[in-house]
Structure formats: C-alpha cells, structure tokens
Amino acid sequence: MVMSDIRPVLSALLRNRTGAILVSLQVAIALAVLVNAIYIVKQRVDLIGRPTGMDVANMFTVVSSGFTQDHDRLATARNDLAWLRAQPGVVAATRTNAIPLSGGGSSTTIGSQPDTPNDKNVAINYFEVDEGGLETFGVKLAAGRNFRAEEIMPPDPNSTKAPPTAIITKSVARALFGSEDAVGKVVYDSLNRPTTIVGVIDHMHGSWVTWDKVDQVALLPVTPSFGGDNLYIVRTAPGLRDETLRKVEEYLSTSDSTRMIRGVRPLEYYRDRSYLSDRNMAIFLVSITALLAGVTALGIFALATFNVSIRTRQIGTRRAIGARRADIVRYFLVENWLVTTGGVLLGVALAFGVGYWLSTQYELPRLDLYYLLAGVLLLWALGQAAAWQPSRRAARISPSVATRTV
C-alpha cells in the first residue's frame, strides 16, 4: 500500500467524516488515558515489586502481650527468644520495636557533627534489635560488623542514653558522609549524644513504604521498652515459614498463662497491606483501561459495520469492475487505519498533555515515550482487529449486487 493508494480512500472518507471524526476522537481519548494509566500502573507495580533488602517471604511476626501484674516481660522475652532460636527451621529471631513495611515505626534525625543544623540532619527510621536483628531481617552487611551481645542496651523508658553503636543503611551513610567509609564514624542525635557506626547494610526498607526515604534505616542495639508487649520477628528457612508460624503460635499461646499471643502474621501481610492502595489503584486503572479499549474497539467495529452496510451497492460495483475480495478487505482496513491514525495523532498530543498535567499536579515522572509508542501500536492493532470482521463481510458481498435495481 503506497501513498497514492491511500489518497482515494482518504478522499472518500473525508466526504463522510462525521462518524470518522467521532471514532477518531474516541481513539484519541483512549490513547491518552490508556498510555498514562498504564504508565501509572507500571510505576505502582515497580513500587510494589521494589527489593526491600529483607527476606520478606520467610519472615513472620509474633506479639506477646502480658496482662497480669506478675508478668515478667524481660524474662518472657529471654525464654521466648531462646525457644524460638532453638526451633528447627528457624534461621534467626529478634525482639524489636516495630515491624518493617507495616506503616508503623519510629524515626529520629542524626547528624555527622554535634549541633548539626536541622536542615543538615538526616532522617532515619530506626529499629531496636539485639545481636540477632541483622540475620533476622536477612539484610546484607556491606561493611563493618554486627552488634555484640554486650552492646545491647537494657530497656530505658526515659531514653537517657544514646546507643553506643549503630548499623545504618548505605543510603544513610551516603546522606551523612557522601562517598566516605561510614564505619567507625560518629553520629549525633538531637541532644548531641554520640553513637559510633559499626556496620553498613547494603539495603533495607523501613516501616513507611510511601516515604521517599524508605531506605534510610538504622538498627540500634537496644531492648525495646514499650508497655507489656514483646514484639518478635522470626525468620525461617525457605518454605518453612507457615509450618513454623503455626507451631510457634501454638506453643507460645500455652507456654505462659500471664500473656496472650497475637499478631502472628507473615511479614508479607504487612507489606501487602501497606501497598493495598497502590494495588487497588493498579487494578482500577487496568480495569478502566481495558474497558476503554473495549469501548473503542466497539466504536471502530460499529463504524466499519455501518460503512459496509451503507456501501453494499458500491462494494458490489467495485467487485464487478475487478476488485478481488482481498482488495475489498484492504480498502476497509486502510479506511479504518486512517480513522485510527487520525485519532492516534491527536491522542499523542493529548497523551503528552495529560502526562504533563499529571507530572506537575501529582509529581509523577514524565510520560515515557516507549509507552506512547506501545499505545500507538496497540490502538492500531486494536483498530485493525475490530475492523477485520466487517471487512471480511464486505468482501463476501456478491458482485451481482451491482446489477440489482432495488
């Protein structure tokens, strides 16, 4: 098909343009919405699928809540952790103050110098853990060392002392010291209390998945000191999580009558809950996009069907004067392609406009051109597919229609 073959089809189309313009507009709107929606979905999917740095699939949480006066929280924690760590299939377990990816946690700011101005401080999401914390989270130590047992601070409800050591993520190290080695350096909290960095984790996500500094995490060698609860995180060998989780819940529930066991959940539960709105948004946008694509295909199909039905005599005449069936199919596919292309050209401009508006209003990244190209190809293919059946039907019209007088 060369340009000179397109000219008469275009010429005929322009003389019956109302339907074509309406369908072109539909295609344009579909392209603009489809491309931007899919781009947003891709961002959401990327967000959900980001590496957390942790062995999320094999971790679970347990909360032990003491409810009697004589409940000894610290002794219970010691016993529970000893029992947990002794179980076959358990890789590591720790006591902590918050659950990563759960939406709840603690944060503070630290600086690389005493009296660091607020705007130079680095915000961190911290987790109080013991020497088993590193292995429990399954994070990779990039430099330095793990905590030693003697470094773990006892509970301090009044927070009078800063922890002597800390392990931070590379992200925090970069924010504090740039490209310098952070191990051995001292950081200061808002009360100018010093803490020495003893290790650097390659990567770890903290509690708030929507926070742009979600990987600014620090592990502190501190025994958590809130209420009567002990929060444990347990990591198992691959494939043993669910079995171990059931066994742990059963044992801990009956091992101590002064407490109750709750919150026995895979870490995936918290992660999925945190990303629920992103997942729902993605599902909603995919549904809307599919619906829009379907409606657009129906519009193209309806226009092609209408064009065939009002041109029965014309098609018969074309067949009579020498058109092969393939010529008739080609005619209608070219006509449809022109309608779709008109819409696509307008849609490209519209998609850019919508993309720009979304990027300025909602701080989304600019629309990726590959998505636009994919959208154009998809709508072309959709248009041709929708026009295929009416075109085939047109090709089946007998040339003898040309000699009928009614």
């Binding site: 000179s4 073959d5 008469p8 010429s11 005929a12 189309l13 003389r15 019956n16 005599r313 014309q314 005449t317 074309r318 067949r319 009579a320 004067i321 020498g322 058109a323 092969r324 069936r325 393939a326 010529d327 007998s398 040339p399 003898s400 040309a402 000699t403 007088t405």
Partner: protein
C-alpha cells in the same frame, strides 16, 4: 468472443426453485453489437450476471474470449472481469464519494497500472465521452446522462474487448438516451463487442442483432453467422 452452451442457472430457496436460465446457448462474435431483449423476469439480468462473471452457473459451458470460465477461482474471475469486460449499469453505479477522475480510475487501480498510464487512459476515456473538462466534478454535480457517460468512460478506460450494458438508458430521458446510444455505437465502431440488455425495442433496433430471451431461454436462437461487422479499427488508449 462469447460462447455459451446449454447454460442453466437455478435459484433455490427453502420453498422454491426458480429456473432463471435453462439450456441457454448464445454466441457473440468479436466486434458485434447484440441486444438481448425480453420481458421482465425472462432471465435477462441472470444472463447478464453470468455473461459478466458476476454469478456462476449450474451446468453448461461458457468461454469468454477463448477462456473457459467454468472452473475459474473467484480471484481469476475478478481479473477476467477487470481485463476483458466493461460494465455499464442502469443506475450508473458511480462511487458518490469519488470525483469523476477517481471513479474512472477505480478499475485501473485494481489492474495495478502505473499512475502515468492510468492518467493517460482516464483522460482519453473522458475525452471520448466528452467530459474531459469535468474530471474533478463529483457525480452529484452531473446530470444523469453525464453520469452514464462517466460510467461508460470507466467501462472503456481499461480497453476491454467486451462491453456489457444493462439497460444503460433506463434512467435517462430520450435526448440523453440517444446521446448514450450514439456513444455506444461509436465505441462499437472502434471494435469493442457490445452486449446490450434492454427491454426497449427502440434501443434494440440500433444493435446489429437482437436476441430475445423468454423463460430463461433464447427464443429465437440461431448459431452466429458471419456478417459484415466492423473490425477492430482503433484501440482506445
């Protein structure tokens, strides 16, 4: 040019069978101008459809310009129609969305002709029918007679050996009808075989030979006898 032997064509529905052509035989020689006449329902249009390869037939044989059309594929029939037959329809059958030039161009495009050759043929054909200056008018801007002349230009632009005209003056007043018949005679004199299907005895008289169809059969069938018909004098370029 056209040799039909014992053709039969039956239209079937669930309830009835209609024998549109039965044992239909006809020869038309190259360069002849034959009028096929008959009352309504006699089978004239079925003959036209079969002769023009617009419909297949059930039994018999048919050779067009020496080509046995019995077992041709749909594509081959389309090609044969395009190359050897020019159609002139009662309702002109111009494509309303195309201008006159593009209407005449349609069959030439299906023949995959080069643009320059197409343009030359279209210009020549429009000049023959006297509409060279109207090339970029739309069909709706022309009178009925002019539209039929465009249809004739479309039919002859491909330089067919055989013109099939279906009541070509049926929708025209007498003056325009006469002009169209004059044009057909002129084309025939240039060597093109013409079969004119009509119920108008006045028009039929202008043909070299009349063939009457009644009840799907040639009522006065006589094998073709050589006579002094014009030979191909000028090919329409």
């Amino acid at each position: 040019m056209l040799a039909m032997r014992h053709i039969s064509k039956v239209y079937r529905t669930e309830l009835i069978e209609t024998h549109a052509l039965r044992d239909f035989s006809l020869d038309v020689a190259s360069g002849e101008f034959v009028a096929v006449t008959g009352p309504s329902g006699s089978g004239k249009t079925t003959f036209l459809n079969v002769a023009g390869l617009l419909e297949t037939f059930d039994t018999g044989s048919y050779a067009l310009d020496g080509v046995d059309v019995n077992d041709l594929s749909d594509d081959a029939r389309s090609r044969l129609r395009n190359e050897k037959i020019g159609f002139i329809f009662q309702s002109f059958n111009l494509i309303p969305d195309l201008d006159i030039f593009d209407n005449v161009d349609v069959p030439l495009r299906y023949r995959r002709m080069k643009a320059a050759e197409r343009k030359e043929r279209i210009t020549s054909a429009l000049d023959i029918v006297g509409l060279g200056s109207r090339a970029h008018h739309m069909p709706s801007q022309l009178s009925g007679g002019q539209q039929q002349r465009v249809a004739i230009a479309r039919a002859i632009a491909g330089d067919p050996k055989f013109l099939l005209a279906d009541e070509p003056t049926g929708n025209l007043d007498s003056l325009m009808a006469r002009q169209v018949m004059d044009l057909l005679e002129q084309i025939n004199e240039m060597g093109t075989t013409i079969v004119l299907v009509t119920h108008d005895p006045e028009l039929a008289r202008r043909a070299h030979r009349n063939v009457q169809v009644i009840d799907g059969q040639v009522s006065d069938y006589k094998p073709y006898e050589a006579r002094n018909v014009p030979v191909a004098a000028t090919a329409i370029a």
